[in-house]
Symmetry: C2
Subunit: 332 residues, 2 copies
Amino acid sequence: MSNPFTRAFLDPHFLPPETSAALSFSGGRLDRLSEDRDEHTLQRAMDHPEARIWGLAKGRVLMRVEGEAPIGLHRVDVLADFAPQPDRAVLLGYDQGAPRLAMPLKLDPDGEDFALPQGHALIDFRSLAAQALLPPHELGQVAQAGALLAWHGTNRFCSYCGGKTQAQEAGAKRQCTACGRQHFPRTDPVVIMLTVRGDHCLLGRSHHFPPGMYSALAGFVEPGETMESAVRRETFEEAGIRIGAVHYHATQPWPFPHTLMIGCYAQALEETIVKDEAELDDCRWFHRDEVRAVLAGEGEKNEDGSPKFFMPPKLAIANRLVADWVEGRASI
Amino acid sequence: MSNPFTRAFLDPHFLPPETSAALSFSGGRLDRLSEDRDEHTLQRAMDHPEARIWGLAKGRVLMRVEGEAPIGLHRVDVLADFAPQPDRAVLLGYDQGAPRLAMPLKLDPDGEDFALPQGHALIDFRSLAAQALLPPHELGQVAQAGALLAWHGTNRFCSYCGGKTQAQEAGAKRQCTACGRQHFPRTDPVVIMLTVRGDHCLLGRSHHFPPGMYSALAGFVEPGETMESAVRRETFEEAGIRIGAVHYHATQPWPFPHTLMIGCYAQALEETIVKDEAELDDCRWFHRDEVRAVLAGEGEKNEDGSPKFFMPPKLAIANRLVADWVEGRASI
């Protein structure tokens, strides 16, 4: 059995050298001890005096927002006031031996009769990241909590036989009460690629993007594909551009609901865009200087002062792909 | 609507430059046209005069093995003799406009009363790859077929409500007949890493490996992890070794049942191994020269002539990680 206190790879002073570690939601450092769990682990963790717990409701996190710094990790008993669902709690892991858990709350942030006690708020994952309301290692816990609770919430029945499933090993898996089959949390790999050609990069906008926003193209890795073949297929399907070399840049856990974003650079073999009208509102080449100006907040403005063109915020890996290319840190 | 004949990114003469493309199961080049499908697509594909279909039973492929080259792509009507399940057929995509499909067969390769007509055999995926019984682009179709049919086979019920699900869009997804929820094929990202320290690499053997076989360590990416953090966690859990830099090398679709292998190199920060007794039978450092000799078939032998130490076959990405490191093609 491992002793959480000796697990030095989680040393908070170790700074991982890769780009992935600098991305939002990537800072998780808990010791999951997934192999050292049994049917008593969850209760033992809940009862631990140093246990702290995240309360989640519909993709938002219960935060105490009075005082100097917002607090998202609560004592277990504090959640009693917030419609807790203790039978759905999961153990994320241990922080220097102190259990960290997550639990869904039966609150409806969009409901009319919704009221939280003074000094509390439900804040969505993106805002927590964008406003840096949590330190990176806690934001990593939120990503893990969001992905894991979303998966448990959509896997209460066995996809094999239709029977009811039960969480096991403090949420590390589920098992069917009818056929006994085990189910493990799902993580969906998605490729997101900045396609470049000389001093230009390819950005597109979905129909549902806010006006003026452009981003890197992306799509799920399909059965039987490599990372590179998924990049080629998606870029061709969406923009009609053939791709030569593909280079990995970074990964990011993306809890919407349980995705692994795989960020790449892709070398365009041609220039003429044939966009997928169903998927994209627009798709075009942007010069490095234009992108650099926009990243610096110095791009062209509309008459009302809003930017004519902007990109996803820094919390998104698309932003980082563009920024690293502009600054010459892209491996292409 | 796209015209399959114009989809030049699938040009069979284009040779992708990355390592991934040289791996077994990575050669799939079908045009999936996942967005251009409706409720008539499957029947239209089955009726197409150029349609060809893979028949799969329990991880094996129906092959016609008489004649010069083994054949795995059959005319649809040929499968009539092999307990076909046409209601479970899926469309993989198009090869220059010709539909390629897959269908489970109700044959039990391990059953006693099992007999195939003369000139036919059921051959498992690994043997097809190891013996090069199919060209790379067909082996890629097998990987896609295996992953997709395995997923359909274990998702006939809705994990959200327990209702029955139905395949839609010729197998590109399933939908619940009760709650309407859509379900998409699952791909599980797994990191597999060759950990190196100077002229040594770290290899381990599971309890279930054949005697003498060692391989790179590996494990599923868990919720909230980056590729690199999964590499660090798995290496520490299994071998007690802390990792510094991590570099991506290649991905491989691995149809057992529907995995994306993400091959990496990992820089060890220490030498002393503390192996996970539950997971590993042995784990140790191997010198580059020893590994090179073994790859060349010139390693030490037991008295009966069998190798004292050997690695997974070339079809496995572990073999490639080791070979590329030995030959100086590893980015570490």
